[in-house]
């Protein structure tokens, strides 16, 4: 029509592939020593580039190469990536190779990112949840070039991502099907004829260049918690959670946030959970990384299925040996997939439960600190009520029926509600109060020029707050005032807790909005480490029958 060209992207793609031809060996193989040149050939200034940084696996070699390109040729890139976990991911900003950033999680690099924003080295687009960022890959943040990592690859471009598939498929799909370029670093490269990869997780047609990396990609053991470090206060809160929430709602499908509170809950299932008669009634289906602390409950027969966002270092053999529980490929190894798992976490679970650092007087909760732009990864996607959900479960329906404010919108129409539980000891390390007048996130927003403070879970999504003082059922409150009173009632000896009017707290206890351990029939004196089904990492190894192989830093015997 009118001579307009409709395939400019394909033409552009072919031009770049042709320009890179001299660097290609057999098939799609490029030598590690040619990667800097390759990147200079296929990336243009200002383009959207996806570099695979995940929760766990990191395309560190490709990141290193990108930080070495000639910045006369490649500059002002717009990085769109899930996670920035390693210093090398920030080097491209330090050097001016990249300028703009859209991401979901930065973990240990959060402090540096805040600094870079302050110094103008990073122009921040937005901090997303994983699923939200993936969605934008298919709308306005489609990468032109995508750099990923895999355990194995062959000269045809086929990739084996296995246990740590994580974000790779969705990144590649968005890039490849918009005529972008896909580059993969692999730990081991096969010819694909005589020697084949374990399993094809990504078809070769979707990959343009494969490089055998000089060293295996870095893998972060993010979800491993040593039972030896679980405290009595955390055990008390785990008991409160099990009796006051898991048992009350018969929570069968759920996600556990990262941290010691949920590790304590996992380790209490075979002991305290059994004592409460909950086996077979709760915790059947998890969307969860393979937490080592879940091993005792799995071995004790509590869990029917676990789908994982990513793998966890050391859990590979254990997962492989439990194919009835985990999602295992025809080759016998697990495949994680963050996009699918987050989708399950958004639509198909009845409860998200996890720890937080700060809660304001209205119930807004966040792990953001004043000096770090860290993001929340997937937590907000699960720590919210998914408004598109229509299927019914007992837990979802019961929570919805208790949700007082719902009537003011729906009249008598019933609707369920996701349980969103935030756990916080009233005082954290160094006597930092968990309940505060102003979230540190507000200070961060001012410092890093963010339009909104990074809130992990908003007050209108939270249904329960658990502290060592008990449970506040936020969704059962009739007004903002009552929610504030409920928070004061469980905020202990913090400034906000000391504002509580004992008479009001007493009334809320009568209504069941606040439940103390005593109201729940929990003996605080029994909250001690003898309840843990495994007391340390060595116990976990033994209970797994030697299948769990903890990383060195957790191996202390």
């Amino acid at each position: 029509m009118n001579g307009k060209k409709w395939d400019t992207r394909r033409t552009d793609y072919l031009e770049r592939i042709n320009a890179a031809k001299p660097l290609v060996k057999t098939g799609k193989e490029v030598a590690a020593s040619d990667v800097v040149k390759l990147l200079e050939t296929v990336i243009r200034p200002g383009e959207k580039v996806n570099l695979e940084g995940n929760n766990q696996k990191q395309a560190d070699f490709l990141a290193e190469c990108l930080s070495k390109v000639n910045k006369e040729k490649v500059y002002d890139l717009h990085m769109v990536q899930s996670a920035l976990a390693l210093p090398v991911f920030l080097e491209v900003f330090e050097k001016g190779i990249a300028k703009k950033l859209d991401f979901a999680y930065s973990g240990p690099m959060g402090g540096k990112i805040a600094e870079f924003i302050d110094q103008g080295k990073v122009q921040l687009g937005a901090i997303h949840t994983y699923l939200e960022l993936f969605a934008r890959y298919f709308t306005d943040l489609t990468p032109k070039v995508c750099m990923v990592c895999a355990y194995e690859g062959d000269r045809f471009g086929n990739l084996y991502t296995g246990f740590n598939t994580e974000d790779t498929p969705i990144q590649i799909e968005a890039t490849k099907f918009s005529n972008g370029i896909v580059i993969a670093q692999v730990n081991k490269l096969y010819d694909g004829v005589d020697n084949k990869i374990k399993r094809v997780d990504i078809p070769g047609d979707w990959v343009d260049f494969v490089i055998e990396s000089p060293k295996p990609f870095y893998l972060e053991p993010l979800f491993t918690r040593d039972p030896a470090l679980i405290t009595d206060a955390q055990i008390l809160m785990a008991m409160i959670a099990l009796k006051g929430i898991y048992a009350k709602y018969n929570v069968q499908r759920l996600n556990h946030g990262i941290g010691f509170y949920t590790a304590a809950i996992e380790l209490l299932l075979p002991t305290y959970g059994k004592e409460l008669g909950l086996k077979g009634k709760i915790c059947k289906h998890f969307v969860l990384n393979p937490h080592p602390t879940l091993i005792p409950a799995i071995e004790d027969g509590w869990v029917e299925s676990i789908h994982s966002f990513g793998g966890e270092l050391g859990m590979q053999k254990y997962c492989q040996a439990r194919p009835d529980i985990f999602f295992i490929g025809p080759d016998g190894t697990m495949r994680s997939n963050r996009a699918y798992c987050q989708t399950a976490g958004h639509y198909a679970i009845d409860m998200f439960i996890g720890g937080t650092l700060q809660i304001d007087r209205y119930g807004n909760s966040t792990t953001a600190t004043a000096t770090r732009v860290a993001g929340f990864g997937g937590a907000p996607n699960m720590g919210c009520d998914s408004k598109g959900r229509r299927h019914i479960t007992e837990a979802w329906m019961r929570c919805g029926d208790e949700f007082t404010a719902q009537k003011s919108f729906l009249g008598n129409q019933r609707r369920g509600k996701r349980l969103v539980v935030q756990m916080a000891e009233t005082f954290l390390e160094k006597m930092a109060p968990a309940f505060v007048d102003e979230l540190d996130a507000e200070k961060l927003a001012k410092k890093a020029n963010l339009e909104l403070p990074p809130i992990m879970v908003y007050a209108d999504d939270i249904t329960h707050i658990i502290t060592e003082e008990g449970i506040a059922s936020m969704h059962m409150c009739e007004s903002l005032k009552e929610r504030e009173d409920a928070i004061r009632g469980v905020a202990g000896y913090t400034k906000i807790g000391l504002e509580a009017d004992p008479k009001v707290t007493g009334q809320l206890r009568k209504k069941g909005v606040i439940q103390t351990p005593e109201d729940l029939g929990i003996d605080r004196a029994k909250a001690n480490r003898s309840l843990l089904a495994a007391k340390n990492v060595k116990d976990l190894v033994e209970i797994s029958g030697g299948l769990y192989d903890p990383p060195g830093k957790f191996h202390n015997w």
């Binding site: 405290t231 009595d232 206060a233 000891e425 009233t426 160094k430 006597m431 605080r524 004196a525």
Partner: protein, 108 residues
Amino acid sequence: MAKQLLKLNFEFKAEQPMPIKESLHYGVVGSGDMEVIIEKKDLAGKAKFQVVTPVVGYDQVWEKVLGRFIDESNLGNISVEINDNNATPEVVSIRLRQALAELAAMKA
């Protein structure tokens, strides 16, 4: 290590003070933890506390935590020594309750 330790003293009296049978030592002064030594003493029904802590500025919180413990336990005629190493109020409450459970077990 040269850090100054604070000594705080508190006194409470339950409405109907209950005596204890034996003295007790509970807990360890690990980081974020504390030990408590409860001694039987004729104090005209009162409960006296001495807290040794490195944390400055939490006198009122200590008073509330310990006052609540006496309110709930009704213990009297006791002298309590607490050696604290940055325990949170919750850890203090748990340790006191655990000590109380030990006392009950000793009675039985």
